[in-house]
């Protein structure tokens, strides 16, 4: 009923929607995470995503399984891309369907928040000035100080 995977190819969000669509579904929620053109005021060219593949897939599967327990009846398709992405490209897509909207919305939020918290994926941002850095979300508040 639910799937989670990594891909090196561009994400086709329509196919994720198709995976979770069914006649008994009254709500489908699609979340797309996309590469933003700046971070903390620095213009961004693109991002290299890398993962501990085996664990990332296992952890993503655990998350969609947990979401299925918390929000009974939800169907989820989760896909995260790795490799070099340009501004505007989709890095992660989550489609959740349920007979009713509340569970579909909440399940989608649960999956993206848990993914960001615990799935072993890293990103190296490439800036317009030619430099690049690994992104450390834990360090961000201090660095973001003006």
């Amino acid at each position: 009923m639910s799937t989670a995977r990594l891909t090196t190819q561009p994400i086709d969000s329509t196919s994720l929607i198709r995976e979770v669509a069914a006649d008994d579904r009254g709500a489908i929620v699609l979340f797309l995470g996309t590469v933003r053109n700046s971070n903390e005021g620095r213009p961004v060219n693109g991002i290299d995503y890398s993962a501990y593949d085996a664990m990332a897939v296992a952890e993503m599967q655990r998350i969609v399984s947990e979401a299925g327990s918390r929000f009974s009846g939800v169907a989820i398709a989760l896909e995260h891309r790795v490799g070099t992405l340009s501004v505007g490209e989709t890095s992660v897509a989550i489609a959740c369907s349920h007979p009713h909207r509340a569970a579909a919305l909440e399940a989608n939020r649960y999956v993206i928040e848990e993914l960001k918290r615990r799935v072993p994926i890293w990103k190296r941002e490439h800036y317009l000035d030619g430099t690049s850095e690994w992104v450390d979300p834990l360090r961000r508040p201090a660095e973001a100080a003006p």
Partner: protein, 80 residues
């Protein structure tokens, strides 16, 4: 016994390797792997208590490792 150690992202850059093998005494724990890697050139860039995984699942530093296990030292994750 031999265990496989995986490093990623900034930790792999710091040590200059993304995969290595370590010889450990029987009864060693995951935390011992961190200590050994921190003794290597560049290893001080790793925090003393990083996130850890044993055989592709999060683990504590007290988990006992066995021959052939795969220990991963996990930098702050940044997916999404």
């Amino acid at each position: 016994m031999t265990v496989r150690v995986l490093l990623f992202a900034s930790y792999a850059d710091a040590v200059g390797q993304n995969e290595l093998t370590l010889e450990l005494d029987d009864g060693s724990v995951v935390g011992d792997v961190v200590s050994r890697v921190r003794e290597m050139a560049g290893g001080r860039a790793l925090p003393p208590a990083p996130l850890l995984a044993l055989n592709a699942a999060y683990s504590t530093s007290a988990a006992v490792v066995r021959a052939g296990d795969e220990v991963a030292i996990i930098p702050p994750v940044a997916g999404g």
